[in-house]
Symmetry: C2
Subunit: 115 residues, 2 copies
């Protein structure tokens, strides 16, 4: 298999998972942190910053771009990357919403009280 059964989950659950998955690699965390700190940068700056090859960095950038967290604007020879404020805001709101959920007290079966 290796194939996630996305059709059996809600769109919201799939979207949440997609955002979380995009952040689920230290290199992509580092890229996002760098762009949050520096506003905008070209790919080469990130290649200098990260312990990864140019092609690998480019691939991570592609994933973050595809999920909507980054934008990449062509600037002559180079490509200027930055946080996509729209996508980033959506990711923040969705993930923050999940993380801020209070732990409910509803029991799934009446007399089960363990944790």
């Amino acid at each position: 298999m290796g194939l996630t059964k996305t059709e059996n989950f809600t769109g919201r659950q799939n979207q949440l998972a997609a955002f979380a998955k995009a952040l689920g690699h230290p290199a992509r965390i580092a890229i996002v942190e760098y762009l949050l700190a520096h506003n905008s940068c070209i790919c080469g700056d990130l290649v200098d910053e990260l312990p990864l090859s140019q092609s690998t960095v480019s691939q991570h950038l592609k994933e973050l771009k595809q999920v909507g967290i980054l934008r990449g604007d062509i600037e002559g020879v180079s490509v200027c990357y930055c946080i996509d404020e729209q996508g980033w805001t959506q990711a923040r709101e969705m993930l923050t919403g999940l993380l801020a959920t209070p732990i409910g007290n509803a029991e799934c079966r009446p007399s089960t009280s363990c944790c």
Copy 2:
């Protein structure tokens, strides 16, 4: 390869990525949401709830347990799962911290203003 070069990133970056990765699958989002809503449940309840086999659900539970988001306490024949408040709090604080980072204005190269 297929092997993440964790040693070249900070412990914080790796921990953040591990939490995000654990949430990077719709089934695990669904499990966390279910446990947030129901406080505590046995594995069989989740198997009834999710469109996945028992072994697959068990595997997802294992991943969430390993990263510290869930706890599983043996209760006779069954296992009672619940949110691990400590781990969940840490995940919330770390991820919320990243998501709440204001977008900085520092330019990585003086005359580059694109996005």
